[in-house]
């Protein structure tokens, strides 16, 4: 534990030292992404809304009738899943797309990943605002438990960074990671109970869903926003464990291969 803590403090120290670099990288990623257009920014909010609209129209007939506040239910799923998808996809590219930099200049490589994540977080934040507008429209009454949404946001963000680290390293070593991950994401969409409820499955199968970290984060939001309950302490621990496990694995991979990435690009 002691070693790990010192590693964390070291990362924080380097972050502070490289604050200027980090800001410039974030700026660059932001400009790259939106190409300096207003529509670019609006589009990143519009596209999840369109997905939501289609799902709402198509699935309400099948699942909507016995799910209270189905729109909110759907939106919560989409909100978290698109955050996960965007953040990890961006993270996966972060090493390869900056290869021409880190093969010439000695910079901490996780900076690229973190800066990519910042734009994903900003996108997520915008969508989150729209989410609460929809929550109001959907007549979900205000509950104090809604403030707990900060917890899954934090655990999801840490989890995304960890997964992004793992994927970016894999992508350097294996160029087909991109396609395999695409397939994986599609499968995960169906396994994350975004548009259906898992109540109809037997209890045993319902527990299997808890193995999916993305689903757990989605579930947390649904519980605090729609049901107005706070999940059990064990559930909090589970989310935290997923996040820290991903981050630890990612961190170890970066530590181990830090000097080897450039042989592969």
């Amino acid at each position: 534990m002691n070693i790990k803590e010192s590693y964390v403090t070291r990362v924080i120290r380097t972050l502070r030292e490289h604050q200027f670099m980090f800001e410039e990288l974030v700026k660059r990623d932001f400009k790259q992404k939106y190409k300096r257009t207003v529509l670019g920014m609006a589009w990143s909010v519009l596209s999840p809304l369109l997905t939501l609209l289609v799902m709402r129209v198509v699935f309400t007939r099948f699942f909507g009738r016995d799910t209270p506040h189905y729109t909110t239910y759907l939106f919560a799923g989409n909100l978290m899943f698109s955050y996960f998808r965007e953040s990890t996809n961006g993270g996966m590219q972060s090493l390869m797309s900056n290869a021409s930099i880190f093969t010439k200049i000695n910079v901490p490589k996780y900076m690229f990943l973190l800066s990519k994540n910042v734009s994903a977080v900003i996108n997520f934040g915008l969508t989150l605002i729209v989410f609460f507008v929809f929550v109001a429209i959907d007549r979900v009454s205000f509950k104090p438990t809604m403030f707990a949404i900060i917890f899954p946001i934090i655990t999801m963000s840490i989890f995304n960074i960890g997964v992004g680290m793992i994927l970016s390293a894999l992508f350097v070593f294996f160029r087909d990671t991109q396609y395999l991950y695409d397939v994986f994401l599609t499968l995960l969409t169906y396994l994350s109970a975004i548009f259906y409820t898992i109540d109809r499955f037997p209890a045993k199968i319902q527990r299997v869903f808890l193995l999916n970290p993305v689903f757990c984060n989605i579930k947390y939001i649904r519980v605090i926003v729609i049901d107005g309950n706070l999940p059990s302490p064990m559930f909090h621990l589970l989310l935290l464990a997923y996040a820290l496990t991903a981050l630890t694995i990612g961190g170890l991979i970066y530590k181990k291969f830090n000097t080897q990435f450039l042989y592969y690009v």
Binding site: H18, F20, M21, E23, E24, L25, K27, R28, K31, Q32, K35, S100, I101, F102, T103, K104, I105, N106, V107, L170, F174, R175, D176, T177, L180, T259, L262, Y263, Y264
Partner: protein, 316 residues
């Protein structure tokens, strides 16, 4: 006296073969069928040298000798597979400058980004930005997208940013030849002024004259192996030029000395031959022509001889 850079027995290994560019699926398949082959390749093998503050090291060697890889190890981008490099002070490494910029950003944004990546602070960049642009002669292009710039302009900007700091250690990989004639002159002057300020520097150059001119120590690499590390720059450069002509790889210091000797002999011979042909030309002209033309030819010949003598004096 303490050292500025010390490299001890540095070896760097690259892996080649199947491992690159095959996908995960292919990798698993080949592993299963025992068809997975990788070969190792030592870009540098057992390289050692030590520089004192203010030293200027020239690294010479044919293509693929491991020069650039060694520079990457010194600048900390690569970690040696074996051995170690210790560097005392702040490094400015000018390696393949023009890459790593973002095409969609403007000149100003790229300048700040590069400065940030090189570890400058924002205050420093704010202060020096105008100087950078002025030195790169890009005043009229500041808000231009990078992709609209010519490659010469890009290198000029890269050079200007990288040279701005007053580093303790400067690493130059073939960068003295950026931009057009005028800018090249300017950049060489700038380099010289940095070098004269007493930094420790490492220079990789295929222009052997540059190495003779600027270095006080020389490291000769051949296919990753260290031929020699010496402060007898002229001698080693002579031997190296002889090696380029004959492809004879020296294995000891005696070999190097004899190579250098051969080179001097060769130079002498060349000079003698040249003088001979000049003489012949003159004689022929004299035979053919009347006195006026002959006089002009004699004057031209005398002038040439004088110039040659003056040049020799300079190099000595």
């Amino acid at each position: 006296m303490t050292y500025a850079i010390k490299a001890e027995n540095v070896s760097i290994r690259y892996m080649t073969g199947d491992f690159k560019d095959i996908g995960l699926k292919e990798y698993v398949l080949r592993r299963l069928t025992h068809n997975y082959n990788v070969h190792e390749f030592w870009a540098d093998k057992g390289v050692s040298f030590e520089l004192k503050p203010g030293d200027m090291l020239g690294i010479i060697g044919a293509n693929g000798a491991g020069k650039s890889t060694l520079l990457k190890a010194v600048s900390g981008i690569m970690i040696p597979t074996e051995g170690w490099v210790d560097v005392k002070g702040r490094i400015a490494a000018l390696l393949e400058l023009a890459s790593g910029f973002d095409n969609d950003l403007t000149v100003r944004e790229n300048a700040y980004l590069r400065g940030a990546l090189l570890g400058y602070t924002r205050e420093f960049m704010n202060e020096k930005y105008d100087d950078i642009i002025e030195f790169a002669e890009l005043q009229d292009f500041q808000e231009r997208r990078f992709k609209q710039l010519s490659s010469g302009m890009k290198s000029r900007l890269a050079f200007s940013i990288a040279c701005l700091v007053e580093p303790d250690i400067l690493i130059l990989d073939e960068v003295l030849s950026v931009g057009d004639g005028a800018f090249r002159k300017k950049s060489e002057d700038k380099m010289r002024s940095i070098l004269e300020s007493g930094v420790t520097a490492i220079l990789v150059s295929h222009t052997i004259g540059q190495v003779r001119d600027m270095s006080n120590k020389v490291l000769w690499l051949d296919k990753g192996k260290q031929i020699c590390f010496s402060d007898e720059v002229e001698l080693v450069c002579d031997a190296y030029e002889e090696f380029l002509a004959t492809k004879k790889v020296p294995h000891s210091w005696e070999d190097i000395e004899s190579l250098a000797e051969d080179f001097t002999v060769r130079q002498e011979k060349k000079r003698a031959e040249k003088a001979k042909t000049e003489q012949q030309k003159l004689v022929e002209k004299l035979r053919k022509t009347d006195t006026n033309v002959a006089k002009a030819a004699i004057e031209a010949y005398l002038k040439e001889v004088e110039e040659e003598a003056a040049e020799e004096e300079k190099t000595e």
